[in-house]
Amino acid sequence: MSLTELHLALLAGAPRHGYDIKQEHDSWFPDTRPLPYGQVYATLARLQRDGLAEVVETRVDGGPERTVYALTAKGSARLRAWLAEPAAPTGVGAEEIVRKTVSALHTGIDVSGFVARQRAAHLRRIRDLQGTPPGAGPAERLVREHLIAHLDADLRWLELATELLPAPDDQPTVRSDERKPA
Amino acid sequence: MKPATLWLLAVPNVRASRTRAALVAMGTAAAGGLVLVTLALFRVPAFALPPRGSTANYSISYDPRYAGIVTSAETRIGVATAVLLVAGTALVLAWQAVSSGSARRHRRDQALTTTGATPGDLRRLGAIETAVAGAVGGLLAGPVYLLLWFVLGPAQPATSRLLPALAPADLIAWACLVPASAALAAAAGARSGTQLHRRPLSGWWWLALAIVALAGMFTLPQLGQGDRQLQVTLMSVAVTLLLLVALACGAPWARGKASRMSRRGRTTDLLAGGGLRALAGPAGRAAGVLLGAGLTTGVATVILGNILRQATDLGSGGHLTGIVLAAVAAGLAALAGLATITLAAVDDLLTNRRGLAAMAAIGADLALLQALQRRRLRAATIAPLVSGLLIGGLGYGALSVAGEPAASTDAWPLLIVGPAALALLLLANAGIVRLLRSRTREAIDPANLRVA
């Protein structure tokens, strides 16, 4: 489950509290189901327990108390390790490639490396699928072509994503004192 | 389509192809001026010659105000024919100008067709575009005539003058010429605006037609045996017919030549064959014109030989004027023919850029492409000129001794004039290739590969 890593990515830009994280998530993935608060807080608690995130501040801005979390070095390393692996080139049911790409582009962590690895993974898979084994019937060929078409669609989307969402320059993202306006 | 719409569509194209309009106007002006000259020639008081074999004195046609060549009714017809033939070659050039830039117009026409223009609309559009240029050419024919009149009339000593004083008849002829040339240009433009899909006659038909015309050229004058004027008239008719047939046969001849070259083993022949097929129309017209120029030169050369042999009254120069005129006419015709094929080659370089750039990308360098252009020019021009020279020279030589067993003819000047004409032609071909050099270089620019 990559929701853990996704939360790490959402924290990578700047320290945030739970409400910020939900807002950021919903702006990254406007078309998916909004992230429920309960899940955000549960995940943050798990991150803190595992030493991937830490509480840096508790704020009271006239409203309810808010706990601001930031990535730890371990959390940052975990995020980088996640982005260093391309999403599996499954072609269908591929939310993972969307999560990783959006995370990579938003956090700006080694975007070109990410794109290179993802393209390589997909192209290798296409290459394997193109080499239909001798004796394969039309049914097998059709299944392979279906996958190829989906992998191709993934790559086209990846290309479009890198054009539409130019990444900030590759940056170290453990802690930053700059805060984006909410 | 309303006239206003047609005009609206025609104007940008006329603007975009000013060169085309200018060339059409120039060609029409030259042809028109020469037609006016021809008409004026017939106002010179002329004398019919006594029948051949009669001992009557030649000086009967002597008029101190004009050159002998135009006061003798028989030679005057020859002069008029020669002038008209030069006018014809100017029209060939103008026609080439009309059809230049056809690729761009064709694209425009296709776009118009898809938006609902009828073939009639396209014809009218094509007509409008050239009619204006034709009318301008007709107007310019007046000044051209004045210039020719001055050069051939007052500028000459009295005994060499070819044209009479200006008269109201000139003005009337000019006034008729303007609408006529506009109409002719409009017809040409309309025809170039339609994609004609005529089934071409087979090569054998053309060959038969050419043989008949050639036979006619030598037999028709025999019919007028005994009546010199009729004989010369028939001769003129036959020559004109032959040249018309030569012009019409040109394109199929060039196509045949192209496929023979394509079948041949040598790479340059093979590759130039394709280029010649693409230019078969203009190459054929140029070939027809050069055949005419060759014929004229051949006949004039043998006449010159005969005069030189008799070595009499060279000074009085009646025949010599004719020979000089014939040489000038042949030279002008040859130039017009070469200009035609040059114009077509330039057009081809513009429309064919991507193909040429692709050929260069595969490994054809500029030198090779120029060699192909040279080969194509030679294929289209040398054979017609040489055949013209031989047919004209030897044919006339044979004709002038026919029926007169004691007579003989001197064809030896052909040995000098022939090679000289050939050398000039080769020089001109090399010049054309040189002229096309920068455009060829532009055509093979890799940038031409980048457009869809």
């Binding site: 070109s112 490396g113 794109v115 290179a116 690895r117 393209r119 390589a120 997909h122 192209l123 290798r124 296409i126 290459r127 193109q130 072509e145 190829i148 992998l151 191709d152 790559l155 086209r156 290309e159 054009e163 | 394509s262 041949r264 083993g265 040598r266 790479t267 093979l270 590759l271 394709g274 280029g275 097929r277 693409a278 064919n352 991507r354 193909g355 040429l356 692709a358 050929m359 260069a360 990308a361 595969i362 490994g363 054809a364 360098d365 500029l366 030198a367 090779l368 890799p446 940038a447 590969l449 980048r450 457009v451 869809a452």
Partner: protein, 224 residues
Amino acid sequence: MSTVQLSGVSHAYGRTQALSDVSLTVEPGEVVAVTGPSGCGKSTLLMLTAGVLRTQSGRIVVAGTDLAGADDAARARFRRRAIGLVLQFGQLVPDLSVRDNVALPLLLEGHRSADARAAADGWLDRVGLDVEPDTLPADLSGGQAQLAAGARALVAGPQLLLADEPTASLDTNSGRALLDLLVKTTVQAGGSVVLVSHDNAVAARADREIRLRRGTIAHQVALS
């Protein structure tokens, strides 16, 4: 020795920089895909490697020929000798029949026309172009013209096959068949292939992807 060696190559059209400081090599027998969005410099890279464009800066050595120091005629000879080229559009010479178009590289090299044409017929057959060999390019469909161009690129057995969107006008099946033929024929003869394409199915055919972005190499990854 590498079949293709580019070092520090830049190229500009007027004031538009198409390539900046590109260095890469292609080894004998290797299939390389050059990919990237439109206008990233793919075709420019291909044209420079083919010696169609003159080297402006940097060093390009292809099949042992230093293209930077070669004049137009020398580069034309180099293309005839070493390069098979498949271009995107309008690549056939309109005046020549399909057969003569395919035979062209051999004809330019000075082969006997009967031999060249026989070879051309064989390749037309192998690419699966089923038309009269005397057909003129104007009468071919886009896909047929592309098959003919593929045959032409292979006819002289090039050391380096350069293809710019070689399957753009073909359907999936015939595109893949042509690509297979281009790649297998060249590689089996020890040659190298550079495919320029933004079709991922074409790129997947390569051993290595070189991705261009705004005239520079964004990444290179091995696929095999």
